[in-house]
Symmetry: D2
Subunit: 420 residues, 4 copies
């Protein structure tokens, strides 16, 4: 999962910061509002966290790194919460085993609400004081961190709701009119030396820096992501039964996990359907395919006589004039990727061919917050773009999301590339 | 786990049956009342079921075996519930995987309440009609079945509440004054031919029949169960570190599971404590030891130069004049075994030396309810007596409870025996 | 697996004992002779031991319990062998993990031969001296122990040879003429009080004692074991697909392990074949079915509207006038069970309905040899009779073999019983 | 594991090719010669293959890709060998499960020798004929493939021999005089555009191409690998107990696997020793540390305030004037890495910071041989250099070896780098 590291905040005034704090914190509670206490308790697999855990962990972050570190007389809400809601920070002590988060019924959703209120009140007084740059940076980091968990909350609860045969929707939404898969255009780009990485303007996670030069060969990028319609053609052509299309580890996963289609897809009376946050419905050929692993994205590309782009290629393409990010997170999350549009990204996270590794000269932040990103730089692949559950502002061109190649429960899709 | 099989009901009039139905059903809801929706959702290990599942499964029993079978126009509450709440009856169709019951957030605790009301109303009209003997027997069975699940509900929720570092009590209760472990007396009984098993008077599960003769050698039985005080002596004498005391499979469990004391025990500042349904507290040397596996009971007996009784020995002892069952379930469950009393059983289930096997001439009931008991007759040991969470009337001398020898989360204890 | 405990030897003179020692030791080497060093190295599953391990472990037994204990100046052959070749005796120190015996290439088969010679020479001088009764009993025990391992060696190497697609035979043997399954007769026996267990005449393992009384109901026993022909009928009638025939744990095994027939059976062009120590061949309907688990034996009996006998019933039947043990181990092991004969046992081990538990008054021997049998008395079922790989003299009526209910790689079969 | 793909052979005349064929094939047999049939049979973990399997699989390669494909009348040695000795080529049919290679005793080592002779004779006649370029390329590939397996054979048998407490040496060798760890010098290199990858002169595997440009920042490389002496300092400074030094997956491995030192190291009376192919001996501080995972190499680098080089940095450094490859494989394998020398590589494989991914424009060969390298390009890291068990000629600057980051049983070490 993506995480965060301290980068100096910019010109936020305290008022703006306080307003943003309230807004981000309220957005988390709004996302949890449709969920029952039972929904908020379940952990449907080790990678998933319960909703109430997300609500508590993001709160623990402010308690630990801001209040505990910068407010001398701060009294913790509960002595066991540091143990319960630390995710993976070795530097701040022991923690409850991740795979057993769903075994904890208490504190319940209501007590977590009280915890959030308590910390928010303490933060309010903190935000009134003179804050040094380090504290502002940590608050900024904490807010970006919480926004990342908003997305995790949605992808996790989707997995939870899919476990019951009831397949209850998270929210109801009008059914869209399905459309045929749009034609694919290739955008050709020249090779040469390119610059990638964050330029230091505005917030970014530590893993997006330093900006640096890369050598590119001429290449082409598809101007739309792979669609659900494309994927049906792949399935129909035996995509999940042809070993020659797959990486060795991917083919092992196909056989062990009995993959025959993307996660959440089911064939009902010969019609492909998908469970969405608005319930199960027929797939729409024009929407980006979603909930595929890296292995599947890679196999599809081989089948299509193409490949996945590297993250440098992707970023170079995304910076091009005319390429736009989807604009789906104004008020509340879109519940599902929408129809693809030419030269737009941001409806699904797009697997790249690049392993998740440090940029040349990368240095994690000092202290425990330095554990955010750097220590996960092995055994994962980079995804770019953003998705229908990504908070606005997190879909920037330099953003490096990452997951193990077997992950399917995030909103993961693919975009093709080829040698130019 | 114990289960049930059809035995003809006795002389219950409809009024009495209806009253008993309402009483048993209300008792289940009373047990669940202190539990939050979050508590009712968690499955802390595969052997444990969520509270709301227990509430639903006992309801499904009446829906399936009484309403569905005997009421022609009965309409099921929900089409997916038969799949969700069938425990293990192969004869009535597919079922949701047991180990994943805790992954189901919906239906929630409130919907289960509605389900219970719906079925109770349908049952009320059924209980008004002329019922044949088969239906009465099934209702009787269903009520005994539900009472068994009341006990399971308590032992399961104890395990759930123990997972959180908060160790919240199920209910609060006054702390008792600890007493020293009482002295042990041996009751000698002659050998010869004895009769064991149920005599057909009143309800019994199928596995208690037929009554039959067994040959006994002279033997002696301890007039009180093994106490917590005894157990501390066993621990202090290296009981968990001496391989020669253990069955081979037991010693493997000691090492694999790192057992050093009964489940829920923890040494705090040199003082042995135990998590109880009323919270963590110091152990009371005079109370029966609880939450031990068969392996531990057997090792303790070897250490004490004794052995466990067979179930025939146990039953012969329990029928003796002067032996009494504990009387702890009048209003609501005792939360923990009380001080031992001479010639009393029923505070903890007592492991016997007998494997759980059919009695000579045993025949399971016809139909799917025949799956209650018989199909579990391998890889388990018999326990006798009853415990502080057992409903009144389930602590009869012929009752055969059973668990795998590694089970520790039920209220399991031990009573010693030796050759006479 | 069955093992041994000290019982005082009888009237063996030293000469007879020495002769028997040489004979038993030579028989082991004769069994290993057809096997290559590679064959002797493989451990095809954790329950199987490599041939060279069997050869070394039986030697270690004499080194540890006779030479080491009774010969003051004895020098061990190699300092690491006690660690490598201790099977499970906690009382004599640490041991190499069982599941990794097949990871040890050195010492090789040749070094084990030298080890055997070394110990045999030391034993020869021991057998010349005055031996006390304890030593004689241990040698007697060691020889019976080694004979048990002769059978284990054969059943283990059968499993090893079956792993390779080459399915090489252990030895070649002429193909027998297949015969139809013989008709089944029932032998009725009255109930009442019977005596079972060893009477102290001649060698027996500790688990066969004390002789004691049991109460029996009238019953009947099939005068021949279940045949391969019977089993084909069971398969053809859907035996492996009908949940109602199976114990719950058995049905789980059928599904997890994908059982469709006994171990080593394969259907080739519609013809059932079985891998035998003489290679793969068509099954013979008249031979006892072999390589079935307790679960399968139990399910078959339920399908046949019968049940398995208890061990007391089996023993009572086997002592009856006219019942005979098969006579198949005169020179060398029969490679496969032969045609069934009326009132004969000993071609296949017969699963009984009895769990493996101590007889009333059972006491294991003092010291480490007391670990032979008693510590395995849980989670196993008793088998009676003997099999085509059992040494002569081990097929007595009181002999209690035992395996977990899932075991299929021994020569396990079944005999039906029913209420009289 | 590294593998091979067809690249057109160069100017080998038939005579030279035949001579090389005989030489490579004989070298494999020479490596196996010290090993007993038992040694050749064992598979000590799933990643390890038995020696006789290596001998057979390399033979199967020629049988399948040369004889079977180019000699019309060729008759296979045995019908089951294609199934038994296919490693992972999905394109040529089913194969025996990898994790169970050690369960196969037959064919034995002797039969594999006959198989090798049979195929060598068929190859001899093939090498006399007119061969087309494709066949010559496949033979060249087969020889390089067999040389790779020579190294695998040695690292695998080292793991096998280490399982037994006997710790028998593969071969004996004189003990060297230990020396102190030599001082470390840094070689600074400028950034800019560099070319990496194979230039097409002579044999190379497909994964070394195409040659392409990369952008480098200024960097420095240590002129010697990390030594055993360095590693002792790391251990003494708590390297294996400090979470902050480790990647998250690495720290999990430290805890799960209880790592405290490199594989094969053991502390005896306060002295660090290592099991080598010549037996156990004290470590030599001046030798390169060996048998470390990527996780350990990465943690060490962090501890040393450095990092691992990327493969492009490594290759750029290795091409520098004055850098030399170790010269240890003239006659027979060195049994252990020798003392480090400045500006020399090739005693241990050096983990790089680069994930194993395709070079820009990479295309695997057509047909089943295309499965060599490409399909493993996920979840692995690149190692560079060569080791004491690498055949001469395989230690070229462009060679890309690869293993999962947890692998420790190859001869894996590390070289430090830092930003320039």
């Amino acid at each position: 999962m993506p995480n965060t590291a301290a980068v100096p905040a910019t010109d936020s005034t305290y008022a703006a910061l306080r307003e943003r704090y309230l807004s981000v914190r309220a957005a988390t509670e709004a996302l949890a509002a449709p969920l029952s206490p039972e929904d908020q308790t379940v952990q449907s697999m080790p990678d998933v966290s319960p909703t109430k855990w997300h609500r508590a962990h993001t709160t623990w972050f402010f308690e630990t790194f801001v209040l505990g570190a910068h407010q001398a007389d701060y009294e913790r809400f509960h002595p066991d919460y540091a143990f319960l809601f630390n995710s993976y920070y070795e530097g701040v002590g022991a923690r409850f085993p991740r795979a057993r988060r769903g075994h904890v019924s208490r504190p319940g959703a209501g007590e977590i609400a009280a915890y959030r209120t308590y910390v928010d009140e303490a933060m309010a007084s903190t935000l009134d004081r003179d804050l040094d740059g380090r504290a502002v940076a940590l608050i900024d980091l904490g807010l970006n961190h919480e926004q990342q968990h908003q997305e995790l909350l949605l992808m996790d609860i989707k997995h939870v709701l899919a476990q019951s045969p009831l397949e209850s929707p998270y929210l109801s939404a009008p059914v869209r009119v399905a459309q045929p898969s749009p034609p694919l255009q290739w955008i050709s780009l020249p090779g040469g030396i390119a610059e990638v990485g964050h330029d230091g303007t505005g917030f970014a996670f530590d893993n997006e820096s330093p900006r640096h030069r890369v050598a590119l060969q001429p290449f082409a990028v598809a101007d739309r992501p792979v669609t659900a319609g494309d994927w049906v053609a792949f399935i129909d052509d035996g995509g999940y039964r042809r070993a020659e299309l797959w990486l060795s580890d991917g083919w092992a996963a196909v056989q062990t996990e009995a993959w025959e289609a993307p996660l959440y897809w089911a064939s009902i009376d010969g019609d492909w359907t998908s469970f969405t946050l608005a319930g199960r419905r027929s797939i729409d050929p024009a929407e980006p395919v979603c909930h595929i692993s890296y292995y599947e994205a890679d196999a599809f590309a081989r089948w299509a006589d193409a490949r996945l782009p590297t993250e440098a290629e992707w970023e170079t393409w995304a910076r091009r004039a005319g390429v736009q990010v989807a604009n789906q997170f104004v008020d509340r999350p879109a519940l599902h990727p929408r129809h693809t549009q030419p030269s737009v990204y941001g409806e699904v996270w797009e697997w790249t061919a690049s392993a998740y590794l440090p940029y040349p000269g990368f240095r994690p932040a000092a202290g425990a917050v330095g554990e955010y990103n750097g220590k996960f730089m092995v055994n994962q692949h980079v995804l770019r773009g953003g998705c229908c559950a990504t908070p606005a502002g997190h879909a920037r061109t330099t953003y490096r999301n990452f997951f193990p190649p077997s992950a399917r429960w995030p909103f993961t899709g693919a975009r093709l590339a080829r040698d130019g």
